[in-house]
Symmetry: C2
Subunit: 126 residues, 2 copies
DNA sequence: GTTATATTTGAACATATGTTCATATACTAA
DNA sequence: TTAGTATATGAACATATGTTCAAATATAAC
């Protein structure tokens, strides 16, 4: 605990002027801290579920694979806007696609997102 | 299926110019559709997990209740910024607080968010 | 009362986000 | 090849978001 200065009661002020009341709790949190890259990855997945329109399309995909124009019709988005969203989801490996002629069918890559959706649905009416 | 016009193969163009390739899939999705308000509520919860800093603070709270200034120290946010975030989380009933003297201790309201975090952590290294 | 600590609040600001529009590409059928 | 359908892409735009800063409030100690 070098470079710390007690200021009152339990409060401590460290070398870079960060106020800390419970050094034990902060240290404990730091010890269990997740690597920054993992944190970013996790956050970006949650973020994809954090938009009502995208949530709606993902809920639909958790039931059935669907093509761009059906997803657009279902959500009320333009096909262009839907395509943009699907690209982001594909870039994050949340969604995959298969081609059948002119039509691209999108579906969820794995159970990750459906698991998250399931928990969300269980708690909607809390 | 009134007000629809076949244009080629299976494609259909309805009265308000929405292109639909698989009416069955769209209808099925519509049938299982979630009320708009529920969708918004679900999305706003996920959205709270969708920011790296907020995710970090929520992961910390899932281990231990913590006060504003400790959370600020842990995440690297200013105490003001942390307070703003905690207010949003409180407004969404994700977080609650108890006072002990001058200090406010924040903690998760229920298992909803910890369940979501657990699933997220299980899939980080996919 | 005054002073110090812990937290909150509102306005301002820069950046991120979701959508639109116009255009490009990919595939199919004639 | 030409025309039609399905999807993708990039730039532009308005709105949302997260942070900062200055100032306010709440509790405690003196």
């Amino acid at each position: 605990m070098a470079d710390t200065k007690r200021i009152q009661n339990n409060s401590v002020m460290d070398a870079c002027n960060v106020r800390v009341v419970h050094l034990d709790k902060v240290s404990n949190a730091k010890a269990k801290e997740i690597p920054g890259a993992d944190l970013e990855r996790m956050a970006s997945t949650y973020k994809m579920l954090g938009d009502p329109t995208r949530l709606k399309l993902l809920l639909a995909l958790s039931e059935n694979e669907m093509c761009v124009c059906d997803l657009a019709a279902f959500t009320g988005l333009t096909e262009s806007a839907m395509s943009h969203q699907l690209r982001r989801l594909k870039d994050l490996s949340i969604v995959k696609r298969r081609r059948e002629g002119q039509i691209l069918y999108y579906s969820l890559v794995d159970s990750h997102v459906s698991d998250l959706l399931k928990i969300g649905l269980e708690h909607v009416h809390d």
